[in-house]
Amino acid sequence: MKSIDEIKKENPFRVPDGYFESLTERTMSSIKDIPVSEESPAENQSGKVRMMPFFALAAAIIGFAILAAGMVRLVTRDAGSFPREAQDEVYADLVTGEIDTYIIENEWAASEEITESDTEVQGSETAVQSEPDVQSEAIIDYLLLENVELTDIYELL
């Protein structure tokens, strides 16, 4: 057998005895209390079928928009990621900038320390200057102990 036409169109299905004879009465009794509406189920169905291309088009547009958004995001991310050399330059710049900032900050801090130490030195100088007599006396005492002439000591100081 090579073709479907060679098969006899036999109906292998059976129905209970008297099924078709009672079909009309059973159907009429089942619809007895049901009101007739103005909307046809088949026409409603065919309306859905008519709308199918529009639903498909809407779905395609939404799908395309999602795809396009994904592509844009991907391209943007690619543009954001530089080539290796460019990345190195960026990192170098960043590191240099960091170092500069570090230096400036440390110089600032160092200058602050210097200022403070200067202040301390100046303070100590003031202290030294405020005690010139003590140092002069010690030197005079030392020189006298060394038997240096008093006139020479005054000339030296």
């Binding site: 098969i7 036999e10 292998p12 059976r14 159907t27 619809i31 049901i34 046809s40 189920p41 409603n44």
Partner: protein
């Protein structure tokens, strides 16, 4: 042989005597719609349920039926929808896709008392059940119900070209399945 009222006669009665018109509809199209549904759902009890739902929905929507449309294709459209809805519900309930007559019959309460096909017809039915939903519907309407592509197009809301392609694919698949 019993003679039935023509579509034109039924349509003329729809506005003035809807109940009488509907009785004529059931008498004229009842058995055709039953066999169309039965070939899709296989089980008699399911076919009877789907047929009753078809007529109830047709009755409810009778007021919206446009006289220039074909009653035949309008009813086939509702019947196909009911049959496919029932198949989906059944597959959801059983949790498996029932794609051969034996498994469908084994899952039903009525057993195989309403199926007595020979080996070849059983194989043909199993091949049809393996088809995708749309191809199965188109094949049954064309092969068993001898409907034209224009009528099927009106009933299913599909273009004639797409129906021809569906039928062609269905026939090829069935022949391949039967030869194997």
């Amino acid at each position: 042989m019993k003679t039935y009222a023509s579509e034109g006669e039924i349509k003329m009665l729809l506005k003035s005597e809807p109940e009488r018109a509907f009785r004529l509809i059931v008498e004229k199209f009842g058995s055709k719609l039953y066999w169309h549904i039965r070939r899709l759902v296989i089980i008699h009890a399911d076919a009877d349920d789907a047929l009753q739902n078809t007529f109830i929905n047709a009755w409810k929507g009778l007021g919206g039926f446009r006289s220039e449309s074909s009653l035949y294709t309008w009813l086939y459209s509702i019947a196909t929808n009911e049959a496919l809805t029932l198949i989906r519900k059944r597959e959801k309930t059983t949790g498996v896709s029932l794609d051969d007559v034996e498994s469908i019959i084994s899952c039903s309460r009525e057993g195989d008392s309403y199926f007595d096909g020979n080996e070849l017809t059983l194989k043909l039915q199993n091949a049809i059940l393996k088809l995708p939903e749309k191809q199965r519907t188109v094949f049954n309407m064309k092969y068993f119900d001898d409907m034209s592509y224009d009528e099927i197009s009106l009933a299913l809301g599909t273009s004639v070209g797409a129906l021809k392609a569906s039928y062609h694919h269905a026939v090829k698949k069935i022949e391949k399945f039967i030869i194997e």
